[in-house]
């Protein structure tokens, strides 16, 4: 009988013990992988969203900072306004290289004149824009014309092959951007001219007309000159323009970063409890098994099995169970994170981006190895102990 055959016989011989080990391995693998994927996905998403914004400072009306973050991170529709004259005033401040206004709009709630309910929409000025056009160029999208929009990763056409219904106006979905895991994935982007065109059409075709004030904007995005101290510039803007709040890109998504840090602490605490407990439980199970099977293993020794063979048979048995439990755990963790990622985003208030297949495979591999190592660690002591027993004494007892 080979080593693996003996291990398999022992596994099927005591199903309760085998299930306990499988469950412990499943728990460790599932929790460790789930937590890793979640934390790394959230951090990657925050990073990507901040990079995609492409501005050093975002100026919003005072009090609209949280709404702005909610819109960019979670796609929560937001509308706020400040005078358009602020754009020129900001451009005149020393240290500012470029300014570009944006208007934030939202589709109507549950209205048949809109393809999606309460969808966040960003209108930009193509003449001055330095944030959205680079994404379009990077993904080989053409410049957006009148009546054309580009959607986040989760936007798909609902009217014909490439149409979207916005306030009763059918706009052409020219393409989709790469996923960020944030609210930008369920938002659409178009030029200010398209926004005004939709507003014009909405007066006759929408349940409620869209208002795009000529003399107002929602936010102004700023690019600073090289070697400019961004913090000092933000202070200058705050003092020079009453009623606005400049958000530095480094401070953007501060609430989400705080949330992520507290999540990380909680995960570390739970993992610090689960991991040693699982190792302890598996170790105890195998210690009991080693005592139960003393006579059987004594017979094996008397028949010529070496100490090494006895220890290896226990380790092989534990390895098979650990692999089985860890594989199920990894499958469940990936399934849960893939299917329930939006629920996690909404519940925890953090964005989330799925890793690339390569990164996922690496993380799965690490998860499996960590679990197998944990189980080996737990079984090592009982395996050494039982292999050192004298066969004659073991059989007599």
């Amino acid at each position: 009988m080979s080593l693996l055959q003996l291990a398999w016989k022992n596994i099927s011989g005591n199903r309760l013990r085998s299930w306990v080990v499988v469950l412990c391995a499943l728990l460790v693998a599932a929790f460790a992988l789930f937590a890793t994927l979640l934390l790394r996905g959230a951090a990657a998403s925050l990073e990507l969203a901040a990079n995609r914004l492409g501005a050093d400072i975002v100026v919003v009306p005072e009090g609209a900072e949280t709404e702005m973050e909610g819109a960019l991170l979670m796609g929560v529709a937001a509308q706020f306004w400040m005078p358009k004259e602020n754009v020129a005033k900001l451009a005149d401040i020393p240290g500012v290289e470029a300014v570009s206004p944006q208007i934030y709009l939202a589709t109507l709630k549950n209205a048949s004149c809109c393809s999606a309910s309460e969808m966040f929409m960003v209108a930009y000025d193509p003449q001055t824009d330095f944030t959205i056009r680079p994404w379009l160029q990077r993904q080989q999208h053409a410049e957006l014309g009148l009546g054309q929009v580009v959607g986040g990763h989760n936007i798909f056409p609902t009217e014909g092959d490439d149409g979207l219904l916005v306030y009763g106006d059918v706009v052409k979905l020219s393409g989709n951007l790469e996923p960020t895991g944030t609210g930008l994935d369920q938002s659409i982007f178009f030029t200010l001219d398209t926004a005004r065109d939709i507003a014009r059409v909405s007066e006759t075709r929408a349940k409620q007309p869209l208002t795009v004030p000529e003399d107002q904007v929602s936010a102004v995005l700023l690019k600073t000159k090289p070697d400019t101290n961004i913090g000092e510039l933000a202070m200058r803007i705050f003092r020079a323009l009453p009623g606005v709040y400049p958000i530095q890109s480094a401070n953007l998504f501060r609430s989400a970063r705080t949330q992520l840090n507290s999540l990380l602490r909680a995960v570390v605490i739970v993992l610090a409890l689960i991991w040693p407990l699982a190792i302890l439980l598996i170790g105890m199970v195998y210690l009991m098994a080693a005592n139960e099977r003393r006579r059987e293993l004594g017979v094996l020794r008397a028949l010529g099995a070496t100490r090494r063979f006895i220890a290896e048979s226990l380790l092989a048995e534990a390895g098979m169970l650990a692999f089985c439990g860890a594989s199920i755990g990894v499958f469940l963790a990936v399934l849960a994170i893939y299917l329930f990622r939006r629920l996690i985003m909404v519940s925890l208030g953090v964005p989330f981006l799925l890793p690339s297949p390569g990164a996922l495979a690496v993380q799965i591999g690490i998860g499996l190895l960590l679990t197998m190592f944990s189980v080996f660690l737990a079984v090592l002591l009982p395996a050494i102990k039982i292999s050192r027993q004298d066969p004659a004494i073991a059989m007599r007892e």
């Binding site: 549950n110 048949s112 999606a116 939006r342």
Partner: protein, 145 residues
């Protein structure tokens, strides 16, 4: 093992049939308002209703897996289970679909629940197919008078 897998199939069928009633957009009071002011159910509601059609054969297959001792019957139940699980996955994704906005309740809650129940039903049914090899009962020897 056959009992556990049969129970998993029945639980998955119950989840498929019941969960949409509490997790689609209509359960949160969201309905589509047409131009003439009428309120109509959204796409996700009908996807949820259609899931019952997948849940019924899955539940029946689960009961057969629990009660039957014949290998052929269990294997047939397993095939039905895989098909019903696949149907449960396809309804909210490819066949009917859900609402357009990815952050709406149906996409956040209903669809993942239905997909996970469907996938688990498929995996359990596939496992049942292979486990069924060991379930055949040998006939009792004839007792001579």
């Amino acid at each position: 093992m056959k009992t556990v897998l049969g129970l998993v199939m029945i639980v998955a069928a119950l989840v498929l049939a019941i969960a949409p009633a509490f997790t689609d957009c209509e359960s949160a009071g969201k309905m589509l308002t047409t131009a003439d002011g009428r309120s109509v159910s959204m796409k996700c509601h009908w996807a949820g209703v259609a899931e019952v059609a997948a849940a019924i054969p899955l539940g029946i297959a689960g009961i057969f897996a629990l009660r039957s001792r014949r290998k052929e019957t269990i294997r047939f139940a397993a095939i039905i289970g895989v098909a019903a699980g696949a149907m449960a996955v396809l309804l909210p994704t490819a066949l009917i679909g859900t609402c357009g906005n990815a952050m709406m309740l149906c996409n956040v809650l209903m669809k993942p629940i239905e997909l996970s129940a469907g996938i688990i039903a498929m995996v359990a049914s596939a496992a049942l197919f292979f486990v069924a090899r060991d379930q055949e009962v040998t006939a009792a020897p004839a007792v001579s008078a």
